[in-house]
């Protein structure tokens, strides 16, 4: 990062405290579908503190996106959300829509998975980057434009001043994702939510984006919630990680603790399923079966039908409580087998 970064206005002095930026408590989301209610998220609780990176991992359909959307009031209309969400010092769930919208726009920035579709194709990117700032910070159109150039430079778009008026289709996938990040940063949010921002990208581009976010985070002190299904990405960026399965968090804790001493059989299977160069030629440790349908979740641990351990039969019929197994490290299983 070169001298460009110094131009980034950083008037606000963020007190680096341990206060949580976003905390989610017992969040449940049920989506009405044609074939009945789907419990997409069930009793999920977590928080992310200032400057911290919180990672949410899990397979497709495990409820990662829905958790974030519901927490910020963006869940689809068909969804029923219960639970409490605090953003900064506000009880989001108690706020009227309008207030919640303003808080969200002002203090939370979003980056979504697919850079190809998450930008409006018929608005110039510059306009899209700062329209939130126009709304929440009262920037004039002119100031907004200058700010857009600044932000585009910040995220490493070459010749930003010229490209501020370009349309999304004129950018490559990686570039668009940078634009999306610029957009998320426009109001200098306290929290950046990135929902699989690199899944659609190549590894080399993914590396660029990860570097970029990490770098911005160090300089701006933004809290980050990062959704991914790639454990490697988690290992690289997260301070805290939560593993989701079938709409629930099955294991949660500091990233080192979870990677060093994975406790839930799912977490362990997940880590073991990765090909390991040192064990070439051997079969991988596969998890049999397929993830459960949110329409038809088992009564106990959702992982039970696929669980390779099945040590404690209670897991089948009884929902295991989230139990601490280390400093800030909690697990939702009755099983306490050998860890490590």
């Amino acid at each position: 990062m070169s001298e460009r970064t110094e131009r980034m206005p950083s008037q606000r002095q963020r007190p680096r405290t341990d206060s949580s930026v976003l905390s989610v408590d017992d969040l449940t989301v049920t989506v009405g579908t044609r074939r009945g209610p789907a419990r997409a998220v069930a009793g999920v609780s977590w928080q992310v503190r200032q400057g911290e990176t919180f990672a949410l991992v899990g397979e497709s359909g495990s409820g990662k996106s829905m958790t974030l959307l519901a927490a910020t009031g963006l869940a689809p209309r068909a969804a029923t959300v219960t639970g409490r969400v605090r953003l900064l010092d506000n009880e989001l769930t108690a706020l009227p829509d309008d207030r919640r919208r303003k808080l969200r726009g002002r203090h939370v920035g979003f980056v979504f998975q697919d850079p190809m579709t998450s930008l409006n194709p018929v608005l110039p990117v510059g306009r899209q980057v700062t329209e939130g700032a126009e709304e929440h910070l009262g920037l004039t159109r002119r100031a907004a434009r200058d700010r857009a150039v600044e932000l585009l430079e910040l995220v490493g778009i070459p010749s930003a001043a010229q490209r501020v008026d370009a349309y999304p289709h004129q950018f490559s996938g990686g570039m668009r994702q940078r634009v999306a990040i610029a957009m998320a940063l426009a109001c200098e949010p306290d929290l950046l939510i990135a929902d699989e921002p690199t899944t659609a990208l190549d590894v080399t581009t993914q590396a660029q984006i990860i570097e970029l976010v990490a770098d911005l985070q160090t300089r701006l002190g933004t809290a980050v919630v990062w959704v991914t299904h790639d454990l490697g990405v988690v290992a690289g960026i997260a301070d805290t990680v939560a593993v989701m399965y079938g709409g629930r968090i099955v294991e949660q804790g500091p990233v080192d603790a979870v990677f060093d001493t994975p406790t839930h059989p799912y977490t362990r299977a997940l880590l073991a399923a990765r090909p390991d160069p040192s064990r070439r030629g051997e079969d991988l440790v596969a998890i049999p079966g397929a993830p459960p349908s949110p329409l038809d979740l088992p009564p106990g641990c959702a992982f039970w039908p696929r669980c390779p351990v099945r040590a404690d039969p209670r897991c089948e019929h009884e929902l295991p409580p989230l139990t601490p197994v280390g400093d800030g490290h909690t697990v939702r299983t009755f099983y306490r087998g050998e860890t490590g």
């Binding site: 074939r35 497709s60 359909g61 349908s293 949110p294 329409l295």
Partner: protein, 293 residues
């Protein structure tokens, strides 16, 4: 992405059953077919039973829909005319379907110059408003049932050709077609087994909607005096003949018109419901174009 456990057929039936409008449409269609088949037996009087002493009588017990300007029983004529409408609809859409699908299939599958030539031809036909072209064809060939059917068939051919071609173009880019090629399947096999079944949905939807438009077009042609010729009863023609009398004899305008409306509505409702189930993203070309005369 969870697996569904229903077959397409079931899905269609279920969805149709859930949509009250579609249920209504289906009932009307069934009744219509019954009337179309059994019309002459259902009719209380002969369609051409002229009785000049009973001219322009309002609806009554003897004539529930009243009588027309020649003293004929309007109910009987409306019932018997259902067959004509259904026949025109079926034959003309049949023509359009067969011609359009054949053209579209070849154009889309083989592409290249064949595609360009065929599709430019379709563009040319598409450049004429539906009814205008039909009227022009009828003008040239002379009015009558057969010409009306041919004209309407020709007019709706490009829609089917385009839908088919668009379907073929997208289906043939699908991985499963590439998979079939990779296995060594022949063109004919691929077209029959993979392409056609996969474009059936939009074609079914379009057929249903086209039936509606074809019946409407026939009514319009007949209303202009260019369709079915008297004394054969046809709804549009009845409106045409009754036009001079509607101020005195509202029943001459209301009943045949309502019959057209209900029929077309039924086809539209069912077509729409089918689309919702089979092919929700399909905006038929007919919709992008003027659908009614």
């Amino acid at each position: 992405m969870s697996a569904t456990t229903e077959s397409t057929g079931r899905r269609v039936l279920d969805a149709l059953r859930r949509d009250p409008l579609a249920v209504g449409g289906t009932i009307v269609l069934v009744l219509l077919v019954v009337v179309g088949v059994a019309g002459p037996w259902l009719a209380p009087a002969g369609v051409n039973d002229v009785d000049v002493d009973q001219m322009l009588r309002p609806p009554s017990g003897a004539h529930p829909f009243g009588t027309d300007e020649l003293g004929r029983d309007v109910l009987s004529r409306v019932l018997v005319a259902a067959r004509v409408s259904l026949q025109v609809g079926a034959v003309s859409v049949g023509i359009a379907l067969v011609a359009g699908v054949t053209l579209g299939l070849f154009a889309g599958y083989y592409r290249g110059w064949l595609d360009s030539v065929l599709m430019r031809c379709m563009d040319v036909l598409f450049a004429f408003p539906v009814l205008l072209l039909a009227v022009a064809i009828v003008a040239v060939l002379g009015p009558g049932l057969l010409t009306a059917m041919v004209a309407i068939g020709v007019v709706y051919t490009p829609i089917f050709a385009r839908i088919t071609r668009a379907g073929v173009l997208s289906v043939r880019e699908q991985v499963f077609v590439r998979a079939a090629v990779s296995i060594g399947a022949s063109d004919v096999r691929i077209m029959r087994r993979h392409v056609l079944p996969n474009i059936a949905a939009p074609l079914i939807v379009q057929t249903s909607l086209s039936l509606a438009f074809a019946i409407l077009s026939e009514a319009a042609l007949s209303f202009l005096g260019l369709g079915i010729q008297p004394p054969a009863p046809a709804w549009g023609r009845m409106l045409f003949d009754g036009r001079g009398f509607v101020t005195d004899a509202w029943w001459l305008g209301v009943f045949p018109g309502a019959a057209i409306f209900l029929t077309v509505l039924a086809f539209n409702l069912v077509g729409d419901a089918l689309r919702d189930v089979l092919d929700p993203r399909q905006l038929t070309l007919a919709e992008a174009r003027r659908s009614t005369p």
